[in-house]
Structures are given as C-alpha cells and as structure tokens.
C-alpha cells in the first residue's frame, strides 16, 4: 500500500510492504501536480500494491492564495451578500486590531466578486411552500451577464433549497442550456443539503472550485497509475482523513479540500488503538506552526464543519485542528518591554532558520536548539542539510536586548515550549476534557525535541514519541477505512410522532449510498440536534440500528451533549436538525511492528547540552534504532533518528514501549 501527501513545497510518498516502511520526497509541481506523485510512486514501486491513498493541500492552497478559476454564484434575489457576511464575528483576539478585515469580504479578497454573484427571482419558504415561482426570463437575463463574463463554473444556493430542490434543479438546467454543458455546476441541495444558508453557499462555491481543480488531476493520476502497473484502488482522503474512492470523491469534491494534518490525528488514533490508549492529544510540530488535535475515546475529534480561513466555513466533516504559531522556524524577537517573544512570525523553509545558511538572519527556535546542543549539526533531517552554528550564534547576538547570550537562547527554547503547552491545554479544555486524562503524542520534525520540555507545564499523563515521528502524518493515510457518507437537514422536533419523518430521511440517504458504493459495509446513522432556544447544534449523536425510537434519540442527545459540553438539560425539548449516514468499508491498514525486547542499551556517546542553566550539562546520546523494548533512558539525554531528535530533559525518563514508542515521564 502507498500513501501520498501532496504539500505546497514537497510531495511525500510512503510505501508499506510486508511491514517495511519506505519514504520518498519529491518536489511538488503546481503546474503539473500529478507528475511528481507518479514519479514518487514509481520510485517506491507499485507492483502488487492494493491501495493508493491520496491527501493534498492543493485545494486549501488554491483557496487561501486565491489562485482560483472564475466562478459565479447564483442565489435568491436580495441575498447575494451572504458570501460577504459570513457569520459576522471577528476573531475575539483581534477585536482591538483595526487592521483586521474579513478575509473573504468584498473589501478584501472575496472568493466570488460581487458582480459575479447574481440574484434570481424566486422564493421558497421554510416549510417548502412556494412564495414566488422561479422567473425564467429574469434568470436568463442574469445568465446572459455570466456568459459575457465567461465564467468556468456556477455555484447555486437558493434560500430554503435544503427543504426542496425544485428551483435549484430548474436553475441548473437553465445554466447548462445558457452556458453550455462544459461549465462546472454545483447546486446546494445536492452538494450539501443542510440548513443555514451561509455555510451551504460557501460549501457549494468551494465545491465548484474543487471540481475545476481536481477533476482533470484525478483522471490524470488514475490513468498514470494504471499505466505504471497499479491495479489497486485509488482513494482520496477527506478533511477528517477518511478515505473516499476517487470517483466518489469527485461527486462532492469540497470534501477533499484539505487532508494533510487530519491524517496525523488518524495515525494517532490508530497507534493509540494498538497501545490501548484511547485519549490522546496529538501535536504535530512543524517548521512554522504546531497542529494540535484530539483523539477522544479512541476516535479523532471530528467537527461537522471546516474553516478554511477565519469564518470561511464549509460543511465538511473535519478533524478539529488548532494551529499555534510556534514551530522550529518560529522567529525569536524582543518586545517593547524586553520580553523574549517566539513567533507568530516564521522563517518558514525559505530562507529558514539562520543555521540553514540560506540567508535567514533572524534567530529561530531551531537555531536555539542547535546552540543548546540538542540538534546535531551534521545529522539534521537525515544529514540532508548541514547546520551552521556560527550563523545561529550571530542571529541571537543581533537581538537588541541587555539579556545575556545564554539567556536569550535558553529563554527562546523554553518559551516556545511554554506557548505550545498553553495551547495544548486550551484545546483540551475547550472540548470539556482534563489534561490529566490525556497522553500527549509528539511528532513532526520538531515535536520530539520541544514537547518533552513542556511536560512540566502540561499536566498530561505522559508524552509519547511514536515510531517514525517525521512521517507519522503520512502514515495516517494508511490507517483509515473507506467511508461513503451523506447528510441532509430537516428541522424536526423530537416528539414521538416525528419518527416516520426521520426514518424516511435516513432511508432515502441509505438507498443512495448503497447504490453509489455497490458493496456491503457497516452502516452508521447519526444526527445533529439542538435544545430549543439554542442557535447551534450538538453534532454526531449516534442513532442505534433498527426502527427509529424517538425517546432513544432524545436520550442519546442528552448523553452526547453532556459528554461534549459537561451539562445536561433533560427538561428542555430537543430538535433534530441534520441527519447523517455513513457506510464504512474496511480498508487495508498499516500494522505497527513489535519492537524486540532486549537488555541494557548500547553504551551511549556523551555530548554537552548548553544554556539549560548557568553551566553546560553532560547528556547521553542514543541512536533510537539501537534501543530495544523495555530500555530506560534517564535524562538529560537525546535520542536521535533520521528525521527527528527526542530530548529527554533533566529529571525525566524515557522508556521504550512494545511497539518502539518512547514514553517520557517526569521522574517520580
């Protein structure tokens, strides 16, 4: 099996064959994105591979850089500005920042400029009744304008179309008649028939973009793989890193707009299952930021929406990921009052930290780790890059502060760790959890180096560095099931007489899913509901198999509400809002090879760590591959492997677990 993660700069390809993991990295090519993927795949070999699982940031990158095809938006007359409005709110932390603008608003960078958003004379009401029939003459007039503007795609989202698609279907015919069959069209009642017009509209717009971006690419990829001898299944990962067969993904491609970090969480859940650890906080520390996500009760914490930018919401199931502006490339600066500040600015990969020697002059966290002796200048990123200590030194020297040199370096490293620790705590608390119930999984190139240093601030149970921390995210692509899914909305009070209506909604979706999947699988129903008087929904209330029993749904709702938010309101009636069905087909997954137990670890080399305190300290240096299961390493120590270095701070111990994972705990 193979997994490929197409990033903005690099494309990572992972192959697992007979338990052996092989990885290769190729430069991404925005002009011909399929070519590097195929090159990487050929390099690792496709013979006998059963699955080829694909994730990419292509969709998200296209949106956030606004490298987008010209698309129009049609909606009910008088409402074309729902796309400028969003859900109104500003990020709370930016309330006193007068430079803030809604990133997708008309005065910033709208996805569809206002003149390509056109109103259509028609109106359905919330109960599906007809207020105003669709005025075909008027619609043709508007489509004439779009034809003159030569749009490549059209997104249609009419008010209350989630109740009845009749006008959207009619309008789609008019669009195809006027603009031709080649134009990409998505209608909201098919793409995402959920209530609340803004998210449905933006979902439909993003869907059209993704059709234009992914359709040709996916066909080229499939064809190329077949030519290279691949006979298995090509699957695309969605925003929750569940897998969709590629042709199914193309039906509603908004779902695959972004799938990188979610794979890491999926990988965490998969490893957690093997380790018997069901509550994890997953921290992927990269060059510019740290992605924090949760595995709760064995499953990734998934949300029913995804935000591409602040409040640019689409109705895609997505793993909830919080990003902190602290990573290896985070820039160290001095505040007005003389504080050492880490981030949010980053040196990125180009020019990168000063020690990369590519022209970066400002000090970064990686520079600090190098000066502290944690990183080996000759063995960074598997020896791909030699780090220049002199430049790191100069960068820290250049800071305008009376602080002594060793303090600048030591503070920078510890503040980076503290920033991540605070955000990790916030993510857990926001989800109603208690950090003391969680294991922290540290991965990404800089995770194993930074996170153990934050252990004493975190109050988590322990820190675990998984096997292959540098490729851990990509391995998540080989840790998931195939899932076909569908959802729709109907505001239905959960009273006993509502059962037939709810049953009908589920059955209709299930018929469609089995038709699309054409195979057997496990069917799971769930719904999003709310307490009367609330404006938001509580998602993913599981619906038991068998005929709908409303009393059970209500009870399940209260249980879910309590688990998610910590309270229970049994005396307030519940309203069903959206209903969801998934058909799960098991797919081949990676297994974690047991690590051989062994005796005492090989005698380590001794190195010097600096800037932890006033004096340098001696630390043991280990090769991770030489550590057998059961081996215990007392800090201070560093454990090296190809793409990562684990720091075991003074006062901590690391123990090698049965699957080769490193378990780091504060010494008792």
């Amino acid at each position: 099996m193979l997994g490929v993660d197409v990033g903005g700069t690099f494309t990572d390809v992972v192959s697992v064959r007979d338990g052996r993991i092989e990885v290769t990295k190729v430069a991404s090519d925005p002009a011909d994105p399929a070519a590097p993927v195929l090159a990487g795949a050929r390099r690792l070999g496709l013979d006998g591979a059963t699955v080829f699982n694909h994730a990419s940031t292509m969709g998200l990158n296209a949106v956030i850089t606004r490298t987008l095809p010209k698309v129009a938006f049609l909606t009910t007359e008088g409402h074309r500005d729902i796309l400028d409005r969003g859900r109104i709110w500003r990020p709370p932390a930016r309330q006193s920042d007068t430079s803030w603008r809604r990133s997708f608003g008309d005065v910033a960078r709208p996805l569809v400029p206002r003149y390509l958003r056109r109103g259509i004379s028609e109106r359905l009401l919330a109960d599906g009744s007809l207020r105003l029939p669709l005025d075909e003459e008027q619609a043709r007039g508007q489509l004439g304008v779009l034809k003159r503007c030569e749009v490549e795609g059209v997104a249609v989202c009419l008010l209350n179309a989630y109740v009845d698609p009749v006008h959207e279907l009619q309008l789609r015919e008019l669009v195809q008649e006027t603009l031709g069959g080649d134009v990409a069209v998505s209608i909201s009642s098919e793409t995402s028939p959920l209530a609340k017009e803004y998210a449905r509209a933006s979902t439909t717009v993003v869907d059209v973009f993704m059709k234009l971006i992914f359709t040709g690419y996916a066909h080229a990829l499939d064809e190329g793989l077949r030519e290279a001898g691949f006979a298995g299944e090509l699957n695309f990962a969605d925003c929750a890193a569940t897998l969709l067969p590629w042709d199914e993904a193309l039906e509603k491609p908004f779902r695959i707009v972004f799938a990188g970090p979610a794979a890491g969480t999926r990988s965490g859940a998969h490893l957690g299952e093997a380790l018997g650890d069901r509550n994890l906080v997953c921290c992927d520390v990269g060059g510019t930021s740290t992605d924090v996500s949760l595995v709760v009760d064995g499953a990734p914490f998934v949300d029913n929406t995804f935000e591409l930018e602040h409040d640019l919401v689409i109705n895609a199931l997505s793993t909830e990921i919080s990003s902190v502006g602290a990573g290896g490339g985070s820039i160290v600066s001095i505040s007005h009052s003389g504080d050492v500040v880490v981030g949010p600015g980053s040196a990125g990969s180009d020019p990168g930290p000063a020690c990369y020697g590519r022209g970066g002059a400002r000090p970064t966290v990686t520079d600090a780790a190098l000066l502290m002796g944690i990183l080996d200048p000759d063995a960074f990123a598997g020896g791909a890059l030699r780090l220049d200590e002199l430049r790191a030194h100069e960068a820290f020297e250049s800071l305008d502060t009376p602080l002594a040199f060793e303090e600048r370096v030591g503070f920078a490293f510890r503040i980076a760790a503290a920033n991540i620790a605070e955000e990790v705590t916030n993510v857990i608390l926001r989800r109603g959890g208690d950090p003391r119930d969680f294991t922290l999984l540290a991965y990404g190139a800089a995770g194993p180096m930074l996170l153990p240093a934050a252990l004493d601030l975190l109050h988590v149970r322990r820190v675990v560095v998984p096997p292959h921390p540098g490729n851990f995210s990509a391995l998540g692509l080989l840790s998931s099931d195939l899932v076909y899914y569908d959802s729709r909305s109907a505001y239905v009070p959960l009273f006993p007489e509502s059962a037939p209506r709810i049953e009908a909604v589920f059955e209709e979706m299930e018929r469609g899913l089995s038709r699309r999947a054409g195979r057997e699988g496990e069917v799971r129903r769930s719904f999003d509901g709310r307490l009367f008087g609330q404006s938001w929904e509580t998602p993913f209330v599981q619906v038991p198999d068998g005929p709908i029993d409303v009393a059970v749904l209500v009870e399940r709702f209260h249980e879910t509400y309590e688990r998610r938010y910590g309270n229970r309101f049994p005396y307030i009636p519940v309203q069903g809002v959206s209903y969801r069905v998934e058909l799960r087909v098991p797919s081949e997954k990676i297994g974690f090879a047991p690590c051989e137990p062994g005796g005492v670890a090989a005698p380590p080399r001794t190195i010097e760590l600096r800037h932890f305190g006033a004096e340098p300290i001696e630390a043991a240096e280990y090769e991770r591959s030489a550590l057998p299961a059961g081996a215990r390493v007392a800090g201070p120590a560093v454990i090296r492997e190809g793409l990562a270095t684990t720091l075991v701070a003074p006062g901590q111990t690391a123990e090698v677990g049965s699957l080769g994972e490193l378990v780091i705990e504060a010494a008792a």
């Binding site: 500005d81 409005r85 109104i88 003149y115 989630y162 007005h336 003389g338 916030n426 404006s535 309270n567």
Partner: protein, 609 residues
C-alpha cells in the same frame, strides 16, 4: 524603561527573573482564556455563546494594589469596568470576611458599570492561608427581573422598573451555596431553569481558574506571581505612554449625540469630550455632556472608562491582553448626573452600550484631530436592535430578538483600507443568525438584505455601506425598536474622508408607507411616539442602517478601486463622478467587465475640484 533593567534590578522590582515574568504574563492571559473556553462550551444561553457577553479576569490581592494583569478577549464592553468592580465589590463585602471556596456576586450598575443583567462573580484564591488573588467572571444573565422580560427595552424609567439590584454578597461560603442569595435571585428572575445552569457553569469556571492560579503560585511562589502581575500592568502602561509620547501634544474636542430618549423627542443627549494630551499623559474630560436621560439609555463612569480605554487601545496599543495598567496614563473627568454618569433612582441604566457607542464616537472624533493618519472613521454607531413578538394561530407565542432589524452594519475606514459593511459595531462581536434558521422559527420572510450603493462614507479608504433589510411579516406582530442615532450621521469621516449616510426605519402596510424613524426632509421622525409598532399579516418592515465614514481624500482614491466598487455595485456611475471624481463608462449591471475608467475625463473632473 523596563527593557533597560539589569537582571538584578528586574528581580528586585518584580520578584522573579525576566523569563519567569514573560511566562507568567502569558499564563495569566491563558488562565482567563481557559475559563472562557470552558464557559463557551458549557453555557446554555445564545447571548453567552453567540455574543460573548461575558469576560474573565485575574486580580492581584489588596496587598499589591489590586492589579488586573489579564482580561479575556471576549466582550470589550466590560473591559474598563472589571478592575474597579472587583476591588469595589470585595472592599464593600469585606476583605476580612473572605475565605477559601467563597464566591461573591454583585450587579449594581452604579457600583460596577454595564447593567443589572451582567452579574459579577468573584472568587478569592488563597495560598498558605493568605489571600493571594482573585479569579473573576462577569456574564450576562438572561433575566434579572424588572418590568420587561429579559430587560431589552429602552423605555424603563427607573431602577425599580429595571430589575433586581444586588449589592456584593456571598453566593458560596467555604464551597457551600448560600441559600439566602440563591433565593433572592431566583425569587425575582424569570427563566430560572435556564439561568441556573449558566450560573453553575460560571462557578465551575471560577474553580478551574482558581486551580490554575493556585498551581501557578504553588510552582513559582507568591512573590513571583504577584511581581509578574505588576510587571504585566507596568509593561502595558509603558507601551501606552510610549505610544502617547509619539503623538504631538494637543487639546481636542469631540462630540456626538443620541437623538432622544423614550420619554419624548424634546431633548437630545450629547456626549462631549475634551481630550488633552501632554507628553505620555492624557486626560478625557466629559464636561459639556448632557444630563441623564429619563429612560434607561444611560451609562455609568466605568462604562466611560471602558470606552476611553478601547479608543486608546485601538489607536495606541492594539495587541495583547487588556490590563488595568493600560489606563495608568489616562484620567477621566466626569461630571455627575450626565448620560454617562447617571444616578439612581431615575437615571436608569440598561442600554448602556448605545451610550458607549456615542462616547466612542466623541472620543474618536476628538482624537482624529491629533493622530493624523491613525484616525479611525465612525462606524454605524448603534446596535440597532429590533425585536418582535406575536402569537401563532395555535396560540403559542413566538419571539424574534435581535435577528432581523438593523443589527448588521458597517465599520468606518482607516489607514489599513476600506471597511467591512457587514459587521456588528466597534464594541460588539458575535455570530449572526442565519435567515433559514429565523424563517424556520418565526413567521417572517427576509425579502432582501444588502448594501445600498453610494451610502458609504467616501474616502481614499471608504467606509462600509448602509445595509437595507426588508422583512415580510406573515402574522400579526408587535415590533420593539432600540434605534437612537438617526439624526446625524454617526459614521463620521476622518483625515479628509466623507460621512456615511444616515439610517431609518419604515413600515409598509396595505400600500401605505409610514416613516417610523429617521430624518424625513429635515423633520425627525420620532420612533417612540408609540410604545411599540403593531403590524398585521403581510406588513413589510424596512431597516436601513447608517453607513461607516471614509478615511482620507476620496479624490485621491485610485480610479481602479473606484471602478471595482462600481462593478460591484457599492458605488454608482453617478456616485463615482460626484464623490470620487472618477468617470466610469459602460453598463456595470449588464456588462460588468466591459466598464472602464475614462482617464481624461477623470483627470479633468479631479483637477476642477
């Protein structure tokens, strides 16, 4: 300057080293954010979850002078009130009476600012038997009694109509609930079964905050924690002073007004401020402000402190958590008995936020004369909240609160660019409600909701436009209005920019249009000539919000940006020529990509000004 302190001096002054001070400053901010994060998930009420109508702070103990080193990024309207109200409440209750596990509550606006619905919760934190600080939350409660359910009316005439007033008292003592206090509250408020879980959640968040602060003290020691509190406040004070020093000295006057109160349109209410800036200090004097209004549109001095703090933070120190130190460089001078310093029992305070809007306008107008390019144009100036109630054919009541009136409106332009049109207001933030959600609950159809062309204050960077919203009411309805700023454009222009348009409200029924509120050919249409507006089925309600002001000379605006506005319908061809001196040719409606700037004609028009 703090940054120049030697390590020894720093330790001496703040009881810890620089690294610890940095980490602890950050910690304080996160402790309040953690408390809010949890309340946001556990609260029942939309006003907390969708509108962040709450805040959390940390306060140092009396022995170190009650510093407030961190205030959550939630509602800005509580910003200036928290430091004073925590100190005042604890002192009135009695510092000596406090023990571990206590929670003090209070809500009197004349003591604490804002309004009675905002209940302040204070929990002392002890360390080794000593009072080591406080964690606090203030949060809007759905109801506090009074004559109007939920309180949202501007017609209440005194404290008796307004609701229950709680002087500081114990809600918990030693971890045990105090029945007298719980009963006092729940014997007097409506919707108790919804209030109770919100209040219990708040108490749980206080416990979390207490635990986090106590752990921090345990780990770093009380001296370091208290030193870092002082450090956080000193650093904020220094940033403000330095920012003020960078502005030329001066004395500037700004004023703005509220049209009327609900007792009559015979009196306008003016807020006047004189801002004096000398070196790194400033003073804001409210002399010349109108006496208090006869209905509950008044505010209190702590609300004035909030607004001045926000204006200064916007202009001079936009980053980071708000601390009590930010106001060290600024004094307020406030006459008693004004609309911003009303007194009981007749100076009723409920819609304090409308007064905060006017104060902000006055302060920003004054500062615009001194800060040059940094000036900020006025926003739409009001929350323009509408509510409607009625009864369905089956006899069940319905209510629409703050959903389909003028709640969404424009910001003003500033040096960073054009302003967004669809926001709340400068001092409010929240999640807007979906049309489909409203229509599924209330017998209303939103016919249109869109910006009006040529309304935005013109400028090199323009303001946001007026938002028009037409709603069709399918059933009989009573409409309650809270619109107070339609006489004069609240969206003032700055730095050479133009004012935004004014707003208004209309009702059309059986073909007859009534101008409910706003200016009608020089005549003010007073919206409170009726206590509420009744409509029958099929009536249409129109709201037009005021627009935001422009920043900078509109004739300097690049013609391409004007062209884009014409193409997008924010500016008409005629408006482009009149307001921007840009001549656009073509038909923006039918051939939006075919329109163009006539360079020569533009040149002529612009040079002829």
């Amino acid at each position: 300057m703090i940054r120049d302190l030697s390590p020894a001096e720093f330790d001496q002054r703040y009881g810890c080293d620089r690294f610890t001070a940095t980490v602890l400053t950050n910690r304080f901010g996160y402790v309040v954010e953690h408390m809010c994060a949890r309340l946001l998930t556990s609260a029942f009420s939309p006003i907390l979850r969708d509108f962040y109508d709450f805040a959390a702070t940390i306060t140092g103990p009396p022995a170190v002078g009650w510093p407030t080193p961190a205030m959550s990024a939630s509602i800005v309207l509580f910003t200036g009130t928290m430091a004073d109200s925590v100190r005042n409440s604890v002192e009135e209750y009695g510092v000596d009476r406090l023990g571990p596990g206590d929670v003090i509550v209070a809500n009197d606006p004349y003591r604490n600012g804002t309004h009675v619905n905002d209940l302040l919760f204070v929990r002392p934190v002890f360390h080794e038997g000593e009072l080591a600080g406080f964690v606090n939350m203030k949060a809007h409660q759905l109801d506090m009694g009074g004559v109007v359910p939920a309180g949202f009316s501007i017609a209440k005439k005194n404290v008796y109509e307004n609701g229950l007033v709680l002087s500081p008292r114990a809600l918990y003592r030693g971890g045990e609930p105090v029945p007298d206090t719980w009963s006092l509250i729940f014997d007097n408020v409506r919707f108790g079964e919804i209030l109770a879980p919100d209040m219990l959640s708040i108490v749980a968040e206080l416990e979390l905050g207490e635990r986090l602060l106590a752990e921090t003290i345990e780990r770093y020691g009380a001296a370091a924690v208290h030193g870092a509190m002082a450090y956080a406040c000193d650093a904020a004070a220094e940033r403000m002073t330095a920012a003020l020093e960078a502005v030329p000295d001066g004395t500037w006057v700004g004023e703005d007004l509220i049209d009327c109160d609900a007792a009559g349109d015979d009196e306008e209410y003016r807020v006047r401020v004189t801002v004096t800036k000398r070196g790194g200090r400033a003073e804001v004097d409210f002399s010349g402000t109108s006496r208090q209004a006869r209905t509950c549109i008044n505010a209190t001095p702590l609300d004035a402190k909030t607004t001045v703090g926000i204006a200064f933070k916007y202009l001079f120190d936009p980053e980071g958590w708000f601390t009590s130190g930010a106001m060290r460089a600024v004094d307020l001078v406030i006459p008693e008995g004004t609309v911003v310093s009303a007194l009981p029992p007749d100076g009723a305070v409920f819609a304090y936020w409308e007064q905060s809007q006017v104060m902000l306008s006055a302060v920003l107008r004054a500062l615009a004369q001194g800060v040059g390019e940094a000036a900020i144009a006025g926003d739409r100036g009001s929350a323009d909240i509408h509510s409607a109630t009625g009864v369905r054919p089956d006899g069940s009541p319905w209510i629409s609160a703050a959903q389909v009136g003028g709640e969404i409106g424009a910001y003003g332009g500033n040096r960073h660019g054009d302003a967004d049109t669809q926001m709340l207001s400068y001092q409010a933030n929240g999640i807007g409600v979906a049309v489909e959600s409203v229509e599924s609950e209330v017998p209303v159809v939103v016919l249109r909701h869109e910006p009006l062309p040529d309304t935005a204050g013109a400028g090199y960077n323009r303001g946001g436009a007026s938002m028009l919203r037409d709603t069709l009411w399918l059933a009989p309805a009573q409409h309650h209005l809270m619109s107070l700023r339609y006489k004069r454009a609240p969206g003032f222009g700055v730095h050479g920019g133009g004012d935004g348009a004014t707003g208004g409200i209309w009702i059309t029924e059986d073909g007859d249009e009534t101008h409910v509120a706003g200016m009608d050919e020089g005549v003010y249409r007073y919206p409170y000539r009726r206590p509420f507006w009744e409509t029958g089925p099929g009536a249409m309600l129109r709201y037009v919000t005021a627009a935001g002001g422009g920043w900078g000379d509109p004739f300097e605006r690049e013609p391409e940006r004007v062209l884009r506005d014409v193409r997008d319908g924010y500016v008409t061809v005629a408006g482009a020529a009149r307001d921007y001196g840009v001549v656009v040719t073509g038909d923006p409606e039918q051939d939006p990509e075919g329109i163009a700037v006539d360079r020569e004609a533009t040149e002529r028009l612009r040079s002829a000004r």
